[in-house]
Amino acid sequence: MLKRLPLLLLSLIAFNAHAETPEEKGLAIATESDRRDRGYGDFSVDLEMVLKNRHGDESRRKIRVATLEGKSDGDKSHTIFDEPADVKGTALLTFGHKVDDDDQWLYLPALKRVKRITSSNKSGSFMGSEFAYEDIGSQEVEKYTYKFLREEACEGQPCFVMERYPVSKYSGYTRQVVWTDKAEYRPWRIDYYDRKGSLLKTLTWKDYKRYLNKYWRADEMFMLNHQSGKSTLLRWTNYKFGNGLKDADFNQERLKRGH
């Protein structure tokens, strides 16, 4: 043990000689959070969305998602809509990219038409919910720049609090404040600030479960819009990892199956 001491001291000196800036620390937290979620391969999951307006009127959406982890580039995902009934069979194929806009194809079952669509619409609402496309898209490290703010307790545990700034000029946000727990690097809360810099929405995670002994996924995510009083609850069920999905399972032919 003592033999290692000089090395430890040396590294501490080196560390101090180049003190970590808040930007570097923020990036390091995001990178670590991303690293810990690497290697899952693929997963499929069912999602129910409960949309509520300020009067408490509810409406529901049901979709199914399959995701293939990207190795050198972003993830690939396939989303099928089951409810409401008039959009049943509609499907979305996404090839995520780390920095560039994602590639997206939409399948319209009534016309049997596959349409390449623009993914520059980051700030648009996903299915009328309080989630924008950029909130539910793949959260690549490169899509933001970061700044560490402080440490504080969140959900009864020590957490990092940092700001992140979207790189895309199409983003609907000027900044986001993210709470990540220090033990497992899981997100617990994000405050979204709109283009005018006002607090727009808060997203919170609930009931994390561990899959394959490593990967944390929350059962529920709740988005509250402070300005409109509307909210959207996402309920994730039936998580399945290791389905053996391949690149070949994510193409336009798969979209056309419509279920």
């Binding site: 949309l51 307006n53 409406s59 529901r60 409810e83 409401p84 009934a85 008039d86 959009v87 049943k88 806009d101 590639d103 016309l111 049997k112 038409r113 596959v114 349409k115 390449r116 669509i117 623009t118 520059s120 619409n121 980051k122 700030s123 648009g124 609402s125 299915m127 009328g128 199409y170 609907g172 283009r195 070949a248 193409n251 336009q252 032919e253 199956r257 419509g258 279920h259």
Partner: protein, 400 residues
């Protein structure tokens, strides 16, 4: 009834047997609804009416097995219309078996296939016949019996089609609006091919995504989906337009380039066999402005140019026309959307204005509105007989 038993062939019977054997538990879905179509002006012809009520149903059944590697699909459509006998019709839109393997897909039976990228017209889309009596926009299609093999490779997707049996275009009847001066009588239809409706047609399509580009190259060899309409004597002895179906060869290219909020689109065809060889194209763009005025509403601006090198002798009214449109997606809980468009002839004052809008009520009911105005149509235009057919249509559909 719109189903030609000869056209659908033995394939259908075989599929039905196969389907009933394979199915243990599948999924029924679909829609039923009612429609009102009202015309603003008194009709041009005495047999026509001011408004039409109709009801329709579209049940669908889907089942997958063998870990989704094999599937069967069934979709039927039927409408009962007031006055217009031709619009009371039924069709099997889908009845097929699909098998997916490593790098290939087989689809055998009746199905619908869409090719193309533009919005104002669909030049390249040729596999399915248009169910024109359903809607003058030509986007409703009849089911086409076929054997289709899709190969998915690194160099692109290659589709082979053997189209077993021809479906004839539907047209409004004598009492229907939105028709030519003479009604079309489909019974004495004339075919260039000696095999008539039983001719087997072929098509091949290659498609690839290359970064921001989507490119499709196709060839079709067979009976044209769009007949020439020539004056003659109908089955009832009265003057009528008789469809003449030519055998054609059509090569097509469709391209879409997606950069940021811009979609650049091109469809072009070269067709031989229907009079002198000709070329036609649709080219334009769609630009989307997200969240206009901080409202969460997306606005798409569309413009396309429609060209046919036959000029005044073209069998389409869109030989030198410009399309401009605005699409609104409200991104609300009701899924509200609207598309307002105008197609204007560059050589005359003729223009068509169209509006399509829809929204959901509650969980499963959808209200759709459609309206069209035909303005400034000169006597030389193919749409001249529809000059008094401005209409508004309301449809209420229940989805199950």
């Amino acid at each position: 009834m719109g189903i030609d038993p000869r056209g659908l062939g033995r394939l259908t019977a075989a599929l039905l047997c196969m389907g009933s054997a394979a199915v243990q538990a599948g999924e029924w879905s679909g829609q039923v609804g009612g429609e009102y179509r009202g015309f603003f002006e008194t009709p041009l012809f005495p047999e026509q009416h001011d408004s039409y009520l109709s009801a329709f149903a579209q049940p669908e059944y889907r089942h997958a097995w063998n870990n989704d590697k094999q599937r069967i699909a069934f979709a039927a459509f039927g409408r009962i219309s007031q006055y217009d006998e031709a619009r009371t019709h039924a069709d099997i839109r889908e009845l097929n078996w699909q098998k997916s393997g490593s790098g290939y897909e087989w689809r055998v039976g009746i199905q619908k296939v869409f090719w193309g990228v533009t919005e104002s017209q669909h030049l390249v889309d040729i596999i399915n016949q248009t169910d024109l009596v359903e809607d003058p926009d030509g986007e409703d299609k009849l089911g086409q019996p076929m054997i289709n093999l899709t190969l998915v490779r690194d160099w692109g997707t290659l589709d082979f089609f053997v189209l077993t049996g021809f479906r004839e275009r539907t047209f409004p009847g004598r009492e229907g609006r939105l028709r030519a001066a003479l009604p079309v009588d489909t019974q004495p239809a004339v075919f260039e091919s000696s095999r008539g409706r039983r001719r087997i047609d072929y098509a091949l399509r290659w498609h690839k995504s290359l970064g921001d580009w989507e490119v499709g190259l196709a060839h079709f060899s067979g009976t044209a989906r769009d007949p020439r309409l020539l004056p003659g004597i109908g089955g009832d002895g009265a003057p009528a337009l008789i469809p003449h179906y030519d055998v054609i060869d059509q090569t097509s290219l469709d391209v879409q380039v997606t950069t940021g909020a811009w979609l650049w689109k091109l469809e072009t065809i070269r067709r031989a066999g229907q009079g002198p060889t000709y070329a036609a194209l649709t080219a334009g763009f769609e630009y989307t402005i997200s969240g206009i005025l901080d409202s969460g509403i997306d606005m798409g601006l569309l413009a396309e140019y429609l060209y046919d090198d036959r000029g005044a002798t073209a069998t389409t009214p869109f030989q030198d026309d410009v399309f401009a449109g605005v699409r609104l997606a409200f991104n609300d809980v009701s899924g509200s959307e609207a598309l307002l468009g105008i197609i204007a002839d560059r050589d005359s004052d003729a223009h068509i204005v169209s509006l399509e809008a829809s929204r959901r009520f509650g969980k499963s009911t959808k209200l759709s509105l459609e309206a069209r105005w035909f303005n400034g149509v000169p006597a030389t235009d193919l749409l001249f007989s529809q000059r008094r057919d401005d209409y508004v249509q309301m449809e209420l559909a229940y989805y199950f």
